[in-house]
Symmetry: C2
Subunit: 396 residues, 2 copies
C-alpha cells in the first residue's frame, strides 16, 4: 500500500487524477490513459482511470468537503475517506472478494485508490430492472457474518476491539443516521419529504406514541451499543453485483454499532422490491430475504463455535440469545429504514420511480405499514419465515 505524502486538500480534476495514478506507480508514465468522473457527485468525486489498450482500470475516489446535494452549505468531514478506506481494509481481512481491493490511501487529499468495479451494476439499479443476482443473498449473508462476527467482542481481544472502537469513531456520519433514520421522519421536521396524499398516514406516525417509544429504544441502541464494526449504510445502492459477483462498497458510515443495523438495512431494501414486484419475480426476493438471514445466522454460528474467544461461548443459550437479539434488532432497524426511505429526506428509486401516482402511493403506504409493524412487533416476529409470511399476508 502506498501512502502519498501529505499536502493541502484540493479537489482533483480529471487530468490531475491521471497524473496522481501514474505517480502511485499504478500505470507507467508513457501510457495514454482515459479518465472520467462517474460519481453521482453528492458527496464524492469518483474518477475511473483506464488504459484503453488493455481495459485495465482503477478507481480514485475523493471525498468532497461538503454535501453537493444541498450546495456547499452542508460541510462534511473529510475524515470519512479515511474511515471508508480503513473499513474496506478491515472488512476485507474477513470477507476478501466481497469488498473492493484498496491500493492506496491519501488522508490529506481524502482519496482512496481502489479496484475498478465498473464491470458490475449497482444492485438497486439491477434489481429495479429485474436483473438476476443468484449470489446476492448468499454473498451478503457471508459478508455480514464474517465482518460483524470478526470485529465483535466474541472474536477479538478486548484491547484490539477497543482500539478499533476509537479508530472508527465517526460522529459526523453517525449524526446523519441519528437524524435521518431515527428522528426526523417521526416528527414534523423540515427535512421530511412526502407526497401530500401520504399526509394522513404520516401524521398518524407522528402521533403514534407506542411506535415512537419503540423507535426511541432503537435509536438508543444505535447510539450506545458498540457490538461490531458496521458498514453503517448497507442498502442495495452500496452493493455492486452481477450474476457471478457481489462487492460491498462505500462504508463511509462505518462505526461500532449494533449488529442488527447492517442486517436490517439490507433486508429493508430487499423488501422495497417485494412491494414493487409481482408473481415469480417477487418470490425471488422472498428467497433472497430468507437466504440472507439463513446464511448470516448459520455462518455466524459456525464462526462462534470455531473461533469465539468469549469464556461464555459454550454457556447454554448464550449464542441463541445473541442471534435472537440481532434478529429482533434487524427487524426493528428494517422498520425504521422502510419508513424513512418513504417519508424522510433520502428516498429510494424503487418506490419513487413508479410513475402512476395511485400505484406509487399504494406502494408507499405498504412500506409505511410494514415499517410500523416491524418496529412494533419485532419481539414477537420469531423467524425469517414469519417475516416472509407476514409480507405475503400484507401484500395480498
Amino acid at each position: 500500500m502506498t501512502i502519498a505524502t501529505k499536502r493541502q486538500y484540493e479537489s482533483l480534476t480529471e487530468e490531475q487524477a491521471i497524473v496522481y495514478a501514474k505517480k502511485l506507480g499504478l500505470f507507467s508514465d508513457e501510457l495514454e490513459l482515459e479518465c472520467s468522473e462517474i460519481g453521482d457527485g453528492n458527496l464524492n468525486y469518483v474518477f475511473r482511470i483506464r488504459d484503453p489498450k488493455n481495459g485495465k482500470g482503477i478507481i480514485i475516489k475523493q471525498a468532497l468537503p461538503y454535501a453537493k446535494v444541498v450546495g456547499e452549505s452542508w460541510p462534511l468531514t473529510l475524515k470519512r475517506a479515511k474511515i471508508e478506506a480503513s473499513a474496506l481494509k478491515k472488512h476485507g481481512e474477513f470477507a476478501a472478494g466481497l469488498v473492493p481491493e484498496v491500493y492506496a490511501i491519501d488522508e490529506e487529499l481524502a482519496i482512496t485508490v481502489m479496484e475498478d468495479l465498473s464491470r458490475l451494476t449497482i444492485a438497486r439499479e439491477g434489481l429495479i430492472c429485474l436483473e438476476s443476482y443468484p449470489k446476492l443473498s448468499t454473498d451478503i449473508g457471508e459478508y455480514l457474518a464474517q465482518t460483524l462476527f470478526h470485529t465483535s467482542d466474541f472474536a477479538l481481544h478486548p484491547f484490539e476491539k477497543k482500539k478499533l472502537v476509537s479508530e472508527f469513531s465517526n460522529p459526523e456520519l453517525c449524526k446523519i443516521t441519528e437524524d435521518l433514520i431515527f428522528t426526523d421522519p417521526f416528527f414534523d421536521y423540515e427535512t421530511n419529504d412526502f407526497e401530500s396524499s401520504l399526509r394522513v398516514d404520516v401524521e398518524a406516525i407522528w402521533s403514534n406514541e407506542l411506535l415512537k417509544l419503540e423507535v426511541a429504544k432503537l435509536k438508543k441502541s444505535f447510539l450506545t451499543e458498540a457490538e461490531a464494526l458496521l458498514h453503517g449504510d448497507l442498502h442495495t445502492g452500496s452493493i455492486f453485483a452481477s450474476e457471478m459477483e457481489t462487492k460491498v462498497i462505500d462504508p463511509e458510515f462505518a462505526f461500532y454499532g449494533p449488529i442488527g443495523f447492517d442486517v436490517g438495512l439490507f433486508l429493508a431494501n430487499l423488501i422495497f422490491q417485494t412491494i414493487t414486484r409481482e408473481g415469480e419475480s417477487r418470490v425471488v426476493i422472498f428467497e433472497h430475504i430468507e437466504k440472507t438471514w439463513e446464511v448470516f445466522s448459520s455462518k455466524f454460528s459456525e464462526l462462534w463455535k470455531k473461533e469465539a474467544v468469549e469464556s461464555y461461548k459454550d454457556t447454554k443459550g448464550f449464542e441463541t440469545y445473541v442471534l435472537d437479539k440481532i434478529f429482533q434488532d434487524a427487524i426493528g432497524f428494517a422498520g425504521c429504514e422502510l419508513i424513512r426511505r418513504t417519508i424522510g429526506l433520502a428516498h429510494v428509486k424503487d418506490l419513487d420511480r413508479i410513475v402512476d401516482e395511485e400505484q406509487r402511493i399504494l406502494a408507499k403506504k405498504q412500506a409505511l405499514q410494514i415499517g410500523e409493524l416491524f418496529i412494533l412487533n419485532r419481539k414477537e416476529i420469531s423467524s425469517i419465515q414469519s417475516v416472509i409470511e407476514l409480507l405475503e399476508e400484507l401484500q395480498k
Copy 2:
C-alpha cells in the same frame, strides 16, 4: 490548573514530593512541610503534604507502573492516572463538592495533585465501625444522577459524547473488571479465592448454566453499552465520608459503560453491611439502599425533564423505560459484585474480618445467595422496596 513539563517517569520519594508541590506554587519555598505516604500501596503512591503550622495540606497521587499486590510482575498502564484525573474533573463539573478538587495533572509522571481529604474516613472502614453517615445515600444518589445523566446521550450533543467515549477508552482497567467481576468467579479459574467450606456453593455456581447465561448477558452489556461516563469502581472503599460530607475518589476505572454498573456496585457494597449488621443498625443500611435509588431516580428524572436534549424525551414511556433498564442492570451488576467479592480475587473487609469461621461462612453464603437471586431475577424485581423486602426475607 498547572500542567508540569514532561519528563521521564520515575516514582517520587517523600522529599521529592515536597519539592514537586513547591514547584507547582502550592506552597511557598521557605515553608517547612511534612510529607507522608499514606496509600495502601497496591496501585499508587499517595503523598500527603502539609504545612504543620496551619494544617493546610494537599495530596499528590502517583500511579505505579505495576500492581504491587502481586509484585512488579503485573504491569498496569500509567494512562490510568490521566483517566482518573480527567474523570474527577469531568464528574466535578456536574457534582461539585462530591469529588475532590484537582489542582494539577502531570501525565508523564502519572501524578494528580488534589484536595486533601484526610479529615474524612473511607466509608467502608467507617461503616464497618458502625459510624453514622446520614448524608451518604443522598450524596451518592445525587452524584450518580448528576454524573451519569450529564455524560449520557440524553444530555450531550452526539459529537461531544463520542469525543468523551474516545477520551475515556480504558481497555486495561476494563479488562480487570471483565475478568474479575464477570468471568473468573463463574469458572474454576486460578484467580479465585475462597474458604474450602464454600466449595460446594462455589461449584454449584460454576455448574449453574442459567446463572452463567445471565452473567454472560451482563458482561456483554458491560462490554458494549456506552451509556455514560462511569466511575467504574464505585464501592464503599472509593468513598470518603463524614457525618457532614461525602467525596467520591479513585475513578481510575472510568469509561463509557452501562449506567446501572455504578449504581449496582454501590448497592452491593451496602448490602454487605446488611449481612453483617443486626437490628437497628441494619435498618439504617436498608434506608441507605432505598434512599440511594430514590434520590438517584428522582434526580435523574428531574434532570431529564429540565435538560434532556433527546427528541424523544417527551415520548410517553421512554423515561420510564430508561430508568427501568438502569434498575434491572443495577440489580444484575450488584449480584455479580456480591459473588465476586466473596469468592473472587478481591474480597471485602466487611466479610473477611469476621473472625468466627462459622459466622463468616454463613455471611458469605448469604452474599452468594443474594447475588444469584439478583442475577436470575433482576427483571422480576420491580422496585427498590422489593429489593429490601427480599433482603429482609433472606436474612431472617
